[in-house]
Symmetry: C2
Subunit: 223 residues, 2 copies
């Protein structure tokens, strides 16, 4: 029997309200190293892995400084664990997708310790059938690696899956992997920016997607 069709979910900014906590943690890290980086530029890079984010924001920083920045970010981010909340509708959406007989896959390039935090906040492991994380690939989004690993883990091809994400990088990685991408505004990136990056439709957040599930790209997976 063929594997069940799959919905691949980004986590940060898509299921859990963490993007602005990441921005704040990076702001503090850059301030510690006296690197002036504008907050809005950091925001636009959330969803990339740490190394790609640093390269885009700071150019060629020495490895030693890059490692220090990543550790500072990680420490400051963990400090804000008490502020992490599931986005409205996120849990219900995952349960509904699972109830429809579709696989729920968490497809993120977050480091394992950060993913542990957000999975605890989400508290939906019982309906999650597969998970990717930063260790699964050398290159994160916008490279399509994470999406391809997620498809492999789910045992489906690109046409049997839909991705849900909030970042330009999600849309770009999906375009390269030939997977349809639904965009949500809950990460703070505007709908026009997401559409320009290739998403097929835009919802305010998990709750709005849940309300329109049968008419969305996820609905088309059900045939």
């Amino acid at each position: 029997m063929a594997a069940h069709q799959a919905v691949l979910f980004d986590v940060d900014g898509t299921l859990v309200d963490t993007n602005y906590l990441h921005v704040h943690a990076w702001l503090r890290a850059f301030a510690d190293e006296e690197l002036p980086v504008e907050a809005w530029r950091i925001h636009r890079c959330i969803g990339m892995d740490g190394t790609s984010l640093l390269h885009r924001l700071c150019g060629d920083v020495p490895d030693e400084i890059g490692e220090r920045l990543k550790q500072l970010h990680s420490g400051y981010y963990r400090e804000t664990a008490g502020l992490m909340r599931p986005l409205p509708g996120a849990r219900d959406l995952l349960h509904r997708v699972a109830d429809l007989g579709l696989q729920v896959v968490l497809a993120t390039s977050a480091p394992e310790d950060e993913l542990q935090l957000t999975r605890q906040v989400l508290d939906c492991d019982d309906v999650v059938s597969a998970v990717t994380m930063s260790g699964d690939v050398d290159t994160a989004k916008p490279e399509p690696g994470i999406i391809e690993v997620a498809l492999d883990k789910a045992g489906v091809g690109p046409a049997q899956a839909v991705f849900v994400g909030d970042a330009i990088w999600d849309a770009q990685a999906c375009a390269r992997a030939a997977v349809r991408c639904i965009g949500v505004l809950s990460g703070g990136v505007g709908g026009d920016e997401l559409r320009a990056a290739g998403v097929v439709e835009v919802f305010e957040g998990p709750h709005a997607l849940l309300d329109h599930l049968p008419d969305s790209a996820i609905g088309t997976l059900l045939g």
Copy 2:
């Protein structure tokens, strides 16, 4: 002699990189009061005054809770003073505008204590000819009050002024006051959203506006 033409500048997110610090401070305030408010919705409300922001995000909260939220936000915001930076090009832009013989007006609805902080960070009081703040009007942006007070203080009509801002509220208030509004992306709101709200042109931030000053709406003030 007629008053010199004026450029009205929003401060937060336009001249000083504070929008994401405001988001974080509000997130902490809402968490303290156990009110679940999504970060991206807070971000989209930065630039409104505190009372309008609370009404939009929380509906009708009792005055007592509203006051507590504003005080919590204010305290948490001040804690991040060490992270406040002028946006790249902000100081040079204000000096250049003054050198061209135009009035530099800070037109914000921020409370006085917050404005003191950002004016210190900006360190440009020598070229600023007028300032508005929350106490100047009962209703902040998107109502046009702040813009009208700024025009009064500068002694010019709407056609003799251009506004520079980063928020949807700036653009809407300008439209109501018949003042042309230039949008900057440095507050984290996308260019399409700003254009839809009525800005006449968009630049990445103060630096990019400075680079294109003669061709911008500010250039047209010089005739």
